[in-house]
C-alpha cells in the first residue's frame, strides 16, 4: 500500500511504532512542545478578555442600563458591575421591573431614586428577561465584584404565579437564561437540557474566556457563532464586524399605556406557596450570597399589580406576602413591601409605568428601614 509523504521517523524510538505511520500531517508535538503550547494558549485565554476590556469602548453614562439585546452578555454584565461598583454607593438589582421594561432609561426606579437623593448614587443593574433563579447565577458568577456595597434587590412575585413561572412543570419548558440556573442540583423539574449542555454551562461560569467569546458573538455577530454568521454574510470579512463599539441602549420598548387601557383582564393566578416555590428559594439564596459578600442588602417586594387579582387570588397573595415578610423579618433582612400603586400606573401584572416608578422611589425614601439601611439616616 502506498503511503506517500508519510514521515515515520519523527521522534520515533521504537521500531514497532515506526511501522505504523503517525499521521498524514506533521502536526505532532513532543511533551515539551505541548507544555509550550499550553502556556501560550493559557496566556492568550487569560489575556484575551483582559486586553479586550482596554480596547473596547464602554462608557456607561447616567441612567445607563444594559441594552435589551445584550441581556445574554454576562461578560459585559460583569464589566458593568465592576464599573458600577467603582462609581456608585448603591446598586439596584433585579429583573425587568428594575431594568424598566416599558419605560425609558430616565424613567426607571434607579433614576427616581437618584432624583430623590439629589445626586448620582444608585446604579441600575437590573436585566430584562431575568428571573430569580437566573439572577442568582448572574450575581454568583458574574457579579463577584459586588462586595461591601449597598444592594437593593427586588423580588417580583410574578415568578410565583404558576408552576410554569416557578419552573416546576414536569414537562420541559424553555425559560430565559438556562445557563445561569443550577445545572445539576437542586434539580429544576422543567429543565431538560442534555448533560453536555449543562456541563458546558457549568464550565463556562468559571472560565471568563468563554463568556468573553459569547460577548463577541452577541455584540458583533448578531448572537451567532462565526460559522453561522458567515452563512448570513458570505462575502463579508468577519473582522470588519468587530467595530469595538458596544451598542448604546435604546428605548424602543417604552409604552405609556396602562394594563386596563391595553385591555388586559383580571386573572386568577395559580400561586405557588413560598414554602414550595423554587424561585423564592433561589431568591433567598441570592440574598444570603450578597450578605455573605459583606453587602448591605435591602429587599423590595413588588410592587405587584394587585388590581389584576380576582378576590380569591388576592387573599392568597396577601397570605403569601406575609409569609415572605416573615422570612425577611426572621432573617434580619431590611425590606420594604411598598403599598400597591394606583391601577393606572401599571402596564401589566408587575411593571409600573414611569409615574409608578417615581411613586415607588418616593415610597422607598419615606420608608424607615430604607432610610436607615441605605441612606444611613437615623440610628
Amino acid at each position: 500500500m502506498k503511503l506517500n509523504g508519510i514521515k515515520t521517523d519523527v521522534n520515533m524510538k521504537k521500531a514497532d511504532q515506526a511501522r505504523i505511520p503517525f499521521s498524514s500531517n506533521n502536526i505532532r508535538l513532543s511533551a515539551h512542545e505541548w507544555i509550550a503550547a499550553a502556556i501560550v494558549c493559557s496566556a492568550l485565554l487569560y489575556l484575551g478578555p483582559v486586553l479586550w476590556g482596554h480596547l473596547e469602548k464602554f462608557d456607561p453614562g447616567v441612567d445607563y442600563r444594559l441594552p435589551y439585546e445584550l441581556g445574554n452578555d454576562y461578560w459585559l454584565y460583569g464589566r458593568y458591575c465592576r464599573w458600577a461598583c467603582s462609581k456608585y454607593d448603591t446598586l439596584v438589582v433585579g429583573d425587568s421591573v428594575v431594568w424598566g421594561h416599558y419605560v425609558s432609561s430616565d424613567n426607571t426606579l434607579s433614576h427616581y431614586l437618584n432624583q430623590n437623593a439629589g445626586k448620582e448614587c444608585f446604579a441600575n443593574l437590573g436585566v430584562d428577561g431575568f428571573h430569580p433563579a437566573a439572577l442568582g447565577g448572574l450575581l454568583r458568577y458574574y457579579g463577584r465584584n459586588i462586595s461591601g456595597k449597598n444592594v437593593i434587590i427586588q423580588f417580583n412575585p410574578l415568578w410565583m404565579i404558576s408552576a410554569k413561572h416557578d419552573l416546576q412543570t414536569e414537562k420541559e419548558h424553555h425559560f430565559n437564561h438556562p445557563k445561569l440556573v443550577p445545572q445539576f442540583f437542586p434539580e429544576i423539574p422543567c429543565y431538560k437540557d442534555s448533560f453536555s449542555k449543562r456541563f458546558s454551562a457549568a464550565v463556562e461560569r468559571y472560565m471568563p474566556f468563554f463568556s468573553w467569546t459569547s460577548h463577541l458573538r452577541i455584540v458583533y455577530f448578531e448572537n451567532m457563532a462565526l460559522p453561522n454568521w458567515t452563512l448570513e454574510y458570505p462575502y463579508q470579512n468577519p473582522m470588519s464586524a468587530v467595530t469595538l463599539n458596544i451598542p448604546a441602549p435604546n428605548d424602543d420598548l417604552q409604552e405609556n399605556v396602562s394594563w386596563a387601557e391595553k385591555g388586559i383582564a383580571q386573572e386568577d393566578f395559580q400561586w405557588i406557596e413560598p414554602a414550595q416555590s423554587l424561585q423564592w428559594r433561589f431568591f433567598r439564596q441570592t440574598v444570603d450570597l450578597l450578605r455573605a459578600r459583606k453587602n448591605t442588602v435591602f429587599v423590595v417586594v413588588g410592587p405587584f399589580n394587585e388590581h389584576m387579582l380576582k378576590p380569591d387570588g388576592y387573599k392568597i397573595y396577601q397570605k403569601m406576602k406575609s409569609e415572605i415578610e416573615a422570612w425577611l423579618r426572621q432573617n434580619n433582612v431590611a425590606y420594604c413591601i411598598p403599598s400597591v400603586l394606583p391601577s393606572e400606573l401599571y402596564r401589566d401584572a408587575s411593571h409600573p409605568l414611569g409615574r409608578g416608578y417615581a411613586m415607588l422611589a418616593k415610597q422607598l425614601f419615606e420608608n424607615e428601614s430604607f432610610k436607615s439601611t441605605i441612606l444611613n439616616e437615623g440610628d
Binding site: 502506498k2 505532532r28 505541548w34 467569546t213 463577541l216
Partner: protein, 458 residues
Amino acid sequence: MLFHTWPFALFFLIVYPVYLVLKGNRFRLPWLLAASYFFYACFNPLYLILIGYSTLVDYTVVTRMAKSPRRKMWLSVSIINNIGLLGFFKYAGFVTENLNALLSSLNISYAIPEPGFLLPIGISFYVFQSMSYTIDYYRGNIDREKSIIAYAAFVSLFPRLVAGPIERARNLLPQLHKTPKVSLQNVADGLSLFIVGLFKKVALADYLALYVDNIYAAPEQYKSAALILATFLFCWQIYFDFSGYTDMARGIARMMGFNLMLNFNNPYLATGLSDFWARWHISLSSWFKDYVYIPLGGNRKGTFNTYRNMFLTMVISGLWHGAAWTFVIWGAVHALGRFVTRELERTPFYKEKVPKLVKQLFVFAFVTFAWIFFRAESIGDAWLIITRIFNSGWANPNCPVWALILIFGVWIYQFVFESKRRWIFDLAPVRIGLIVAMILYLVLFAPSSEQGFIYLQF
C-alpha cells in the same frame, strides 16, 4: 457518547487513570472490555447483545476450527453469521423496499411489512473486523486467540468501535497482550492526533455541513454555482468528518499505548483512482482488497476478469456504506473511474507528459462528482443535481468565502506536506503555532457541537 462531547471527556477521565493503574496486571483487559462495553451501551444497551453474540460466535468458530478437520465449514459459519447479521440489521429494509416495489410493478397488492428496527451503530465496522480474524486464522496468517476477554476487547476496543479503523487481528491482538507502554511521547502524540481530529470535526466538517445540508435538502431551489460549491464543500466535509473521527480514535488509542492503523492519507492529492483508494478509508479498502478482490481472482486472470473483480469489489464497497441504490451507483462510478485511470496510467503520454497537478485535479474533480451520489437523498435527487449543475444557469451561490479559505488552507498544507518543502512543517514554531491556532479557533469560533459523525450511520 461521541468523542467531542463532555460525556466522553468524563468517561475518559475515569477510564484512563484506572487503565494506567491496571495496565501492568491481569485486570487491564477486563477493565478495557468493561469500559468498551459501557461506551457502546451508552448508545443503546441492547447493542451489547449484538456485539456479544458476534464476538462469541467468531471466538467459538475459530476454537472449533482449530480442532476440526472441517475448517472450511466453520469459516462458512462465521461468514454466513456475520453477513447475516449485517444483512438483517442493515439491508432488510432495503431488500423489503425493493421487493415491494417489484410486487407493485407486477400489480400484486401484497406488501411485505418493513422491519422497524434501527441500524446498530458501528455494526459494519466490528463485524468486518471480527470476520477478518476468522478468515486470517483460516488462511493461517494468525494464531488462535485463546482468551475470550482479549478477543472481546479486540472486537470492542472503544476508541475504534463505532467507526473504525477496521483493525486486523495481527496488528491489534498482539498489542492487547503486551503490557502497553504509555510514555509521555505517547500521550503527546495522542493529544496531537486528538486536537487535529477535533478541529477537523468541529471547526471544519460541522461548519461545511451548514451550507451543504441547506442545499442538498432542496436542490431544486438552487442553481449551478450553489450546487457545485455544495458538492465541493461536501467533498471536504466528509473527509474532515471521517478522518477527524479517525484521528481522534487513533489519538485516544495512542494515549493508551495502542497504535491503530492510518486510515486517511491526504486522499485529495491522489493521482489516480487506485491511488485514491489507497489513501481513503485505508482500513476498509485494504479489507476489501484482501478479502474480496484477491479471493475473486484479483488481477491474475486477464483484463476482463480484473475489471470484473474491480467492479464487483467497488459495488460491494458502495453497498457497505449504505443500503440504497445511490451507494451502489457511487461504487459503480468509482469502479468506472478506476478502469479509466488504470488504462490512462498505462499510456506513456499520461504517465510522463501530464503534470502531477493536473492528474490530482482530475481525480479530485471525479471524486467530487461521485460524492453527489453518496450525499443525495435519492437517485432522483442526484440526477436533478447533475442536470441543474449543467443547465440551471447562474445565481449568487452565497457560499461563505471563509469556508473556502479554510478548505484551501488545508489543501495547500497537504500539497506542501507532500512536496520538497515539507521541512517547513518540521519547524517547532510552525507545529506549535498550528496547534495553538487550532485550539484558539475551537474555543473562540466553533459552535458548540453535538452533531454526529457521518460514518456512524454505516
